[in-house]
């Protein structure tokens, strides 16, 4: 295990043990470790900062409420993403928040910006069952096994959704593909 990953793993174990012993301050440590990744994921799923911040806070609140279920066996990150994912699905069902993030900011030239906005929009238009694997695997770089556990499906099922999702995204981008 690379040194950074080992340090993270030890820190995670320390915070989880502290949380299991009823130390609420330990949540701050876990938030420092994973807050950014959960925010990024929820932002990509929900499409705007305010909802992503709400979902991130709610995710960590649920960690605290369910701390009795915690296991310091390396599965915490998967469990955390699963909580965040369930919250996103609930929010999407409630509000049908499928539009382009209003506060999306892109740097670079106009053509590049247009391209990114188009890709972001096409991704947001995909059904959640396709968008989820694309966000987890292609954007968040989660290993297939872990992404499958987050979605509670088998690895072959995940791969199948991932590949179909890429094709669906390619088809949505349509003409842009022909230019290449």
């Amino acid at each position: 295990m690379p040194n950074d990953a080992l340090q993270d793993s030890l820190a995670e174990k320390r915070w989880l043990n502290a949380l299991a012993q009823g130390d609420p301050a330990a949540l701050g440590g876990l938030y420092e470790m994973y807050g950014e990744r959960i925010f990024r994921y929820t932002y990509r799923m929900l499409g705007n900062r305010t909802d992503a911040e709400d979902a991130t806070a709610e995710t960590f609140l649920r960690v605290l409420r369910r701390s009795a279920e915690l296991r310091a066996d390396g599965a915490f990150r998967t469990w955390l993403f699963r909580i965040a994912r369930n919250l996103c699905i609930d929010k999407l069902r409630q509000h049908k928040l499928m539009e382009l993030p209003a506060d999306a900011q892109y740097s670079g030239g106009e053509e590049k910006t247009t391209l990114r906005v188009t890709v972001q929009q096409a991704l947001a238009d995909l059904p959640v069952e396709y968008r989820d694997p694309l966000v987890l695997c292609d954007l968040e770089d989660l290993p297939a096994r872990e992404a499958a556990e987050v979605l509670q499906i088998s690895v072959p099922a995940l791969k199948s959704r991932l590949y179909r999702g890429r094709r669906a995204l390619r088809d949505k981008l349509g003409g842009m593909m022909e230019k290449k």
Partner: protein, 95 residues
């Protein structure tokens, strides 16, 4: 090779999951096959475009707002990072 098998290989190629040797073989097979060549190019380009989407920025303000939201719900989350000066609240000095 069957069409289905080619498509499976193209999926793996798009995500960069094919071993180099097999990737070279697939590229060679695509030279005389327009459909295969199109599939390979467009799917690989789709994955590249996905990677080009910038990461949402987790700003200091967002970090603190999430923390404040936890505090508001009675959670004493206490990260080591302190709030920047412009986000700290000061009590009036009692005189």
């Amino acid at each position: 090779m069957s069409h289905d098998l080619y498509m499976k290989l193209v999926d793996l190629y798009a995500g960069g999951e094919l071993p180099k040797e097999l990737e070279d073989e697939l590229k060679a097979a695509s030279i005389g096959d327009k459909e295969l060549s199109h599939e390979m190019a467009t799917l690989r380009h789709t994955v590249d475009l996905l990677h080009s989407i910038p990461e949402p920025e987790f700003t200091e303000e967002s970090f603190q707002r999430v923390l404040m939201s936890l505090y508001a719900r009675g959670v004493e989350a206490d990260p080591k990072i302190t709030a920047p000066a412009h986000m700290q609240l000061y009590l009036p000095i009692a005189g």
